[in-house]
Amino acid sequence: MNKQMTAAQVVAQLKDGMTIGIGGWGPRRKPMALVREILRSSLKDLTIVSYGGADVGMLCAAGRVKKVVFAFVSLDFIPLEPYFRQARQSGAIEVMEIDEGMMLLGLRAASWGIPFIPTEVGLGTDVINKNPDIHVIDSPYDDKEWVAMPALQLDVSLIHADRADARGVCQIAGPDFYMDDWFARAATQTFVSCDELVATEFFHDPTQARMVHWERSVTTGVVHIPGGAHPSSCSPLYGFDVPHFKAYVASAKDEAGIQGYFDQYLGASEEEYQNNVGGLDAIRTIELPTY
C-alpha cells in the first residue's frame, strides 16, 4: 500500500472540532510543516493534545484552538511560550492541565481501548481539583483512592520522523522518540511527515529497523517534507533554530503580533516558508543543542 500524500491532502482529511495529538516535545521534533499547513487552512475549534512548544503557541495565536490538553508548553531554552501565555491569560482557550506522565497514561489507555488507567499521579494537586472530567475512584483491591486517568482519544495524530518508507514504516533516529509511539497508537488516523523517504530495503538492516517504534498499520499517511520539523529540531539531522525562535518570541511583543510573524515567514507553501527562513540547506546545518 502506498501511503504517500501531500501536506495539503493531510489537512483535507481534518475537520473543525477534531482532537489532534501532536508528537515531539517542546522545541524538539515537532511536525511543524503539517502545523503550518493547518495554519494555511481554515480549520478551527481544534482540541490539541501535546507536549507543547511553538506548535501549540502558533495554533492558539491563529485562533484555531478550542482547548489544549497539556502538562507544559515551552521552548526549553526560552521556558515560557509567549503565544500560549497570551491565549491562557486572555481566557481564549479551554484547558485540561495534567502531569506529563498522566498524558502518557491517557494516550496508552486510548491506544489499548480502555476507558482509564489508575494512577497515584495527580492526587492532592490541582490537576485533579481543577479538572472535573478527571475522576478519583476507589480501588477494588485496597483502601486507597486512585486517579482514573481517562483515555485521551485522538481523531488524528501528527508526527515528524527522520525517515519513512511509502508503506508507513517510520524511523525516529534521534536519541528519543518521546511519546510518539503512543500518539500514533492513540489516534484513529496518524499522519507522519519525514525528512527522508527511503526504500523498504533500508530497514533490512536491523540497526535501522531497531529505530522503528510502531508497526506500519498504525501509520495512515506519509508526507515527505525535508526540513519539515523546522524551527524545531530533528536530531541527528538538525537542531532547533535558536535565532528563529527568538524572533518568534519577540514577535509576541510587536503590535503586529503573530500576523507579523506569519506575514514574514509562513508563505503560501512549505517551499515559500523554507525560502523565507534561509532555505533547506541552512536548516540542515543548524547545530544540535547541548544539554
Binding site: 502538562a71 507544559f72 515560557l80 502518557l104 492532592g124 494537586t125 483502601d143 486507597k144 528519543d176
Partner: protein, 266 residues
C-alpha cells in the same frame, strides 16, 4: 579535606544541596537547573557514587557530563538509553530523587509551577504548567532549590495552583498518610530548611554564613520552626570546589544567584 575560605554563595549552595542525595543509594538523581544539576553531579562524584544520572536528554551516564558546550572530541560516559517514556517507569517505581525550583512553595510544602493569580480559566500570569510535579511529588523524594529566598516564593496562604502534593491534611488522599509525602531539603540563597518541624512544619536546618534567623523569617511568609541554636552551613572543601569547577567549566554557576555574592561575606 581542607575547608575553603574563598567560595561563592552558589558553590556553598551546590555543596549543601549535594547532601540531599548522599544517603539515597542507587536512585536516579535529577537536578533541573544549573545549581541542582551540579549538586547531583557533585554527589555522584563524592558522597554517593551509586547515584544514576542522565545527560538531560535520553542517555543514562556513568559519569556526569560537564555543563554547557563541550569539546568536539568529548565522549559522554553513556551506559544505557533513558528516554522520557522510561523516565516515567523510573519515577513511578520511586527510585528517584529530583531537585527543582518551583515559583511558589507554601507552608505545606506544596509547590506551584503553573500559574499565578486569576483563575484556572484565565490566569493572570501563565507559567510552565504542572510539568512532572504531580507525579514526582507522590512517587519519590524531592528537594527544592530557591535562588532568591523571599515571601513571594515562600508565600502566605496556599499556592495559587498546587502543582505538587505536600503536607496539607485537607488535601490528603484517602488511604494515604502525610508521611507518604517525602520532601527533603529546601536550599536557598539564605539557608537550608526541611519539613521536619512539628506536624511537618518547615524547619531551619542551617544558616549560610552571615545570615540571621530573623532574616530568614522576614523573607518567609509563614513561621519557620527553629530548634535551639542553628548551625552554619558547612563550607565547601577545596576538593569539592575543584570538582565543581571541572563540572562547570564555563562558570554558569556564577549566573544563578543575583550578583554572584561570596559564600562567606566576612
Amino acid at each position: 579535606m581542607t575547608a575553603a575560605t574563598d567560595y561563592t554563595l552558589a558553590e556553598l549552595c551546590i555543596v549543601a544541596a549535594s547532601k540531599a542525595f548522599a544517603d539515597e543509594g542507587e536512585v536516579l538523581a535529577t537536578g533541573i537547573g544549573v545549581i541542582p544539576r551540579l549538586a547531583a553531579s557533585l554527589a555522584m562524584k563524592t558522597c554517593n557514587t551509586d547515584l544514576m544520572m542522565t545527560d538531560s536528554e535520553a542517555w543514562m551516564l556513568s559519569e556526569p557530563n560537564p555543563i554547557g558546550k563541550r569539546p568536539a572530541d568529548f565522549v559522554p560516559a553513556i551506559e544505557s538509553w533513558m528516554g522520557f517514556s522510561r523516565i516515567f517507569d523510573n519515577v513511578w517505581s520511586g527510585k528517584r530523587h529530583a531537585m527543582l525550583g518551583p515559583t511558589q512553595i507554601d507552608k505545606y510544602g506544596q509547590s506551584n509551577t503553573s500559574a499565578l493569580g486569576g483563575t484556572y480559566e484565565k490566569p493572570k500570569t501563565m507559567m510552565l504548567g504542572a510539568r512532572g510535579f504531580p507525579g514526582n511529588s507522590i512517587s519519590h523524594p524531592n528537594s527544592f532549590f530557591v535562588p532568591e529566598h523571599n515571601s513571594r516564593v515562600f508565600m502566605d496562604g496556599e499556592c495559587d495552583f498546587v502543582s505538587s502534593i505536600g503536607y496539607n491534611p485537607a488535601r490528603l488522599p484517602k488511604g494515604h498518610k502525610l508521611d507518604d509525602v517525602d520532601i527533603r531539603l529546601v536550599i536557598t540563597n539564605l539557608c537550608v530548611m526541611d519539613f521536619g518541624g512539628p506536624d511537618h512544619q518547615i524547619r531551619l536546618v542551617s544558616l549560610h554564613p552571615g545570615v540571621t534567623v530573623e532574616q530568614v523569617q522576614e523573607n518567609t511568609g509563614y513561621p519557620v520552626h527553629v530548634a535551639g541554636s542553628v548551625p552554619t552551613t558547612e563550607a565547601p572543601t577545596r576538593e569539592q570546589l575543584d570538582i565543581i569547577a571541572a563540572l562547570d567549566p564555563h562558570n554558569q554557576r556564577a549566573q544563578q544567584i543575583r550578583d554572584n555574592p561570596p559564600g562567606n561575606p566576612t
